[in-house]
Structure formats: structure tokens, C-alpha cells
Symmetry: C2
Subunit: 345 residues, 2 copies
DNA sequence: GTGAAAGCGCTAACAT
DNA sequence: ATGTTAGCGCTTTCAC
């Protein structure tokens, strides 16, 4: 490999160059770099100056072989879902004044891709990873967390080896059901992300949300009506079509995510139905699109930025002390009523 | 550092383990890993088997020190812009059956963050990077491309050291202007991403698009009317408010990106104006949100997936031969008329 | 407080 | 075709 082209036109500045330039040992330079114990202020200054003058940047790939790479990986299930950027912003903002850099894996909607990406992150010596709603088995999740400091976001699991940050999805679903029921709706349908895996049914946010919907409906004595598709625009479209074909049409639809609601809007518009005149619609996540004037979607705010910030903080702590007891942070959602929900016709 | 906790409970399997297990040298194992020349089929088989049995995965961080890391970095300006996922999908799909992995940098909307992220990618020994609409100076861009194989997407620059993939933004803007003018509009306004840097004015896709708008308007003998904000939802909102405050209101707005058009919709809705009854609206990028039923935004399709696929292919070629002559791929946009454009009132 | 030297996992010369 | 050996740039014992 030649990182520099040609014989030696612009060889990378190394820690050896810095040490020589500062007239100290490489050990000393290394210590200054890492703010490690055992370097006098005088030496610190000399080395800092050499770094400045030479424009030195440590080669993270090499650091990784012995120490840290100062890299945090973030695994996200779907880059198209406008909720995830909120979380990512929270993570990067929390890490802004640290030495860590954030790199994102590309979307992965299945267990195999997820495994590939997490493996790739481990193989690249990342110091820690944030897993947003991962679908891997608990066994694999546990094993991964033993290999690399990890924080799991969204998924309601619990382990001694990783921290979790979740939103109270049961409460969030209840907020929506109660809101719609209070408006007078009785036929409130839900569009969920289809799950069959028993672990997912217990742990994934979408499943817990659906469960919250069921509980809230029963508490009100209302009949449950669910369309099982996926948390995508397409899934919302298909789910709405299913619901509209029912002998008894719902008067309100609770979409499990804003992006699902977007697809629902397309289906309703195609069917010539007005919102909320003919049918009410609520989403979940309170993404920036929900606030759009012509959409103005009633939604549930999960405070993605906070979620991300918590995750970053926990991960830093875990990197600092891997045997630290695991923490579970649970945040409370809030309803944001907008113009897509109104009393039934 | 201890990648494994405790004394030695699950030390990572290394190439030495593989070699020993297969009864060959590490060189041999390395050759098999890289499909390099000089390994007999028999040895290949032995090593492959050892890899399987031991569950070996090469440690990319270590490979990077001598050879490649098999990592491609993607720099993107805004993770919220729904156009970029199309490009990213194109890149990952093109790289699916290779040994390369894709990692994305977090959003960066300014030169400083961009520098940090590209530096981080170089420092992590990435084999190549795809830069989506980077804002750095030509000097820096040139220097970066000499350091690491790079493909620039969207930006209309030209260099001997990097390849480019662009869309014909002048033609795209003309498509919109012609479409609106043919419908009978004469006061067609444009919302652009504000630029002052002369280099950006010449090279950035948004500026070229604005230029195309100007040219097309002049060719039709129409008066140019531009609101200068940014390519965000917020920018669209503010831009529309500016345009609505004009003594002579436009009858049509050409937003430089779909995400801008989303903000415009909010402003129009607030002003009690109907689309396209009172005012027509067109976007750019043909994102999935443009197709949404209640939005149904006329837009320009840039074929993001193709753009990404081209970029990935060019980058692979450049990684293979860094002194290969630079290529410029220019794709042609297509108008996708929908329900937000109609004859003026 | 400071530095010499070993070595992380891998690849690339250079033998053979 | 195969193996031996010397590093890549950094951190980390372990001396002093």
C-alpha cells in the first residue's frame, strides 16, 4: 500500500516525528496525546507545540491495535425514517467536545445485514456501539455486548452487559388511544410492524407499542383492530388499504410511526377520504414531517435528541468502566395533538 | 486495553491461529484471505476450512496498518434530506458482493465539521471516500483526493485526482421552468440555498440549479425572482414567506429541493393559500415524500440510486489504480409532474 | 517523571 | 508455491 503516492512526497507525520521534533521520547508524546498520567507541564507544552508545528494527527487505525480508536459506531435500522436523525444528533452533540468520532452503519432491515455491520464495527476496533432497535437474538446481543461496550436504544431488553435507553411505548400508545377515545372514536385501528418472533414481540418498540394499544383499548372496552405490515411508508399505505376494506371501517387510525402515517395519508387520499373529516389519523415519533403545514399530524414525541444524548453518555461511562452495573433509562413520551385528529363524523 | 475481559476468556482468533490450525504459514493464510497470487488450491482449501472452524474474521484495524481496511467512507451534508438515502442505497448495493464495508459520517453542514469528518476517515485508514456535495475549498479537496481515493458527487468540479458524478442541474432547472411557463406562469420564483463563495457559486449543485433557473427564465423573457435561504425545511418556510411578502406575488414557486418544498407547503398553508389553486409548486430530487398522496409534488428525478452506484464503481476502480485518468459522469434529470403544478389562477 | 523496548494483527519483501 | 522476517504507528509494560 502507498498512502502517499510516489517515492516519499508526503509521508504521514507520525508520533516518532513529533517526539523527535519535541526532543522527547515517543512514550512521552503518546502520554501527552492521551492526557495520561506522568507528563510534566513543560513536556506537555513541548509536545503540544511539536504537534501544532508538524500538523500531526494520530493514526487511529494504528492506535486501535494497542489502545482505542476513538470511534463510536451507530447501527440504525432505516436511514429513511426521519426519527433516527434526531437520535443521531443527540449522540453527536453529546460527543462533540470529546475525542470520539461517530460513524454510522448503513441501514439494515434484517438480522443478516445487522450481523455484518456489527461485525464490521467490531473488526474496525470501534470503542463502543449504539444499537438502535437491533433485531438480533438476545444471545447474540449479549455476546456482542461482551465483546464491545454497547448501548441499546429502543429495544426493551435487559442485561448485565449493556445499558438501554427506551421510551415508554405502552404509555405512548395509551396517550394516542385515550386522545382518540376522548374525541369520541370507538373504532380505533392500529397499523403495526409485523412480528412473529416471540422475543421481538416482547422487546421491540413496535411490538410493545402495539401491546400498549391493545391494553389501552381493552381498558376502554373497545375492540382491537390491527393491520400488520411494516414501519415504512409502503407499510402504511398497505395497512390503510387493509383497514379501508374492512366491513366496518375504523373512524381513526393509529399508525405506529410517523413514516407509516405518511403512507396512510396516500391511501386515504387515493380513496377520496378527508382527514380528519372522514377519518382521524395519529402517528408516533413527532418527526419534522409531522409538523408540516399540510400534514399537521397528531403524533407522540419521544424526544429523540434526549434519547441519543443519554445513549452517548451511558456509552462513554461503559467504555470507561466495562464492569459498571448496567443502567436502564426509560423516558416518557408526550402527545402532540395536531390537525389530523378530530371527533368522528 | 482488553478487548476481552478477564485473563483470557475469549481472545480474538488471529491469522496466526488460523495458520497454525491449517498447518501453514501466516503468509499463506494472508494470501488466501486476500485472494492473492501464490496459493495452491489445496492450501486454499485448508486455510478456508481453518477459517470456518475457528470462526476467524480478519481484524480490519490491523490490516489497515499494512494494507487496506476494506472500508469506504461516505460524507453526506444532511442526513435529514430524504434524497441522500437514495444515493447511499446505490453505493451499498453496488458494493454488496465485495469485501468493502460502508460507513457514513454524521451530517456536516459546514466546512469545519466536514474537515473533521474527512480527517477522521483518513485517520481510520479508509480505502476510499465518497463525498456528497462537499463544501471544502478546491485546494483542500485536491489535497484530500491525493491522500485518499475519492469520488465527488453532485459538485461540478473537475480534477485529475478524483472522479465526479453529477446531475445536469442546469437542464433540471430548465425542465421545471419550462413546465411552469408552458402551463402559463410568468411570475415563477425560485428558492435557493444561499451562497456567496465564488467557488460554490460555480460548483455547488444548488448554485448551478439557480443558475439554470436564471438562464431558463431569461430564455423565456421572464423576470427572475429569487429568495435566498437554505436547502432545509426551515429554509423553504422562510423563503416562501419572503416571496409571499413581495408586492407582486409569484404564481409559481420552484424550490431547489423537495425538502425545501415541504417547508414552502407549511408557509402556504399558514397563509391560507391552496396548491395549485392559488400557487403552483415544484421541487427537486423526486424523494419518496414527493410521491405522498396529500403532497403529490411535481419534482425533478435525479436517479439517486444510479448516482450512488456510479460513484461506488468509480471509487473501486480508483482504489485499484490511483493514477487512472479521472472520469466525469453526468446524468440527465427527468421531470415528474404531479398535482402541485397547474395553470395560474 | 521519563525513556527503551516489546508487541498489537496483519501484509509485504525477500528468501527458499 | 511456500515460509521467514521485518515492520506499519501506536500504546504499554517495566526499567530507571
Amino acid at each position: 500500500m502507498d498512502r502517499a503516492a510516489g517515492p516519499d512526497p508526503q509521508r504521514r507525520v507520525t508520533i516518532v516525528d513529533v517526539a523527535r521534533h519535541a526532543g522527547v521520547s515517543t512514550t512521552a508524546a503518546s502520554k501527552v496525546l492521551r492526557n495520561a498520567y506522568g507528563a510534566s507541564p513543560a513536556m506537555r507544552a513541548k509536545v503540544q507545540q511539536a504537534i501544532e508545528e508538524l500538523g500531526y494527527r494520530p493514526y487511529a487505525a494504528a492506535r486501535g491495535l494497542r489502545g482505542q480508536t476513538y470511534t463510536i459506531g451507530v447501527l440504525l435500522p432505516d436511514i429513511r425514517n426521519p426519527f433516527f436523525p434526531d437520535i443521531i444528533d443527540g449522540i453527536t452533540d453529546a460527543l462533540r467536545d470529546t475525542d470520539y468520532h461517530v460513524l454510522l452503519g448503513p441501514s439494515c432491515d434484517n438480522e443478516k445485514d445487522e450481523a455484518k455491520i456489527t461485525d464490521a464495527m467490531v473488526d474496525r476496533g470501534m470503542d463502543g456501539i449504539v444499537l438502535i432497535a437491533p433485531v438480533m437474538s438476545p444471545r447474540r446481543l449479549e455476546r456482542l455486548a461482551k465483546t464491545i461496550p454497547a448501548v441499546v436504544v429502543g429495544r426493551h431488553s435487559r442485561s448485565a452487559h449493556f445499558d438501554t435507553v427506551t421510551d415508554d411505548d405502552v404509555a405512548g400508545a395509551a396517550l394516542v388511544v385515550d386522545h382518540l377515545a376522548d374525541l369520541g372514536h370507538r373504532r380505533i385501528a392500529h397499523i403495526e410492524h409485523h412480528e412473529t418472533d416471540p422475543v421481538h414481540l416482547a422487546e421491540m418498540p413496535n411490538a410493545v407499542r402495539a401491546d400498549g394499544y391493545r391494553k389501552a383499548m381493552r381498558a376502554r372496552g373497545l375492540a382491537v383492530d390491527i393491520a400488520s405490515t411494516s414501519y415504512t411508508q409502503e407499510g402504511g399505505y398497505l395497512g390503510a388499504r387493509q383497514l379501508l376494506a374492512r366491513p366496518q371501517r375504523p373512524t381513526a387510525i393509529f399508525a405506529g410511526a410517523d413514516i407509516v402515517a405518511m403512507g396512510v395519508l396516500t391511501a386515504l387520499s387515493e380513496a377520496g377520504l378527508s382527514v380528519p373529516g372522514d377519518i382521524s389519523l395519529a402517528g408516533y415519533d413527532n418527526t419534522s414531517f409531522a409538523a408540516l403545514g399540510p400534514i399537521s399530524l397528531t403524533s407522540v414525541d419521544q424526544a429523540g435528541h434526549h434519547i441519543g444524548a443519554h445513549a452517548a453518555r451511558l456509552l462513554q461511562e461503559r467504555i470507561g468502566d466495562r464492569s459498571r452495573p448496567a443502567a436502564q433509562v426509560k423516558l416518557s413520551p408526550a402527545l402532540v395533538p395536531r390537525r389530523t385528529t378530530a371527533p368522528p363524523p
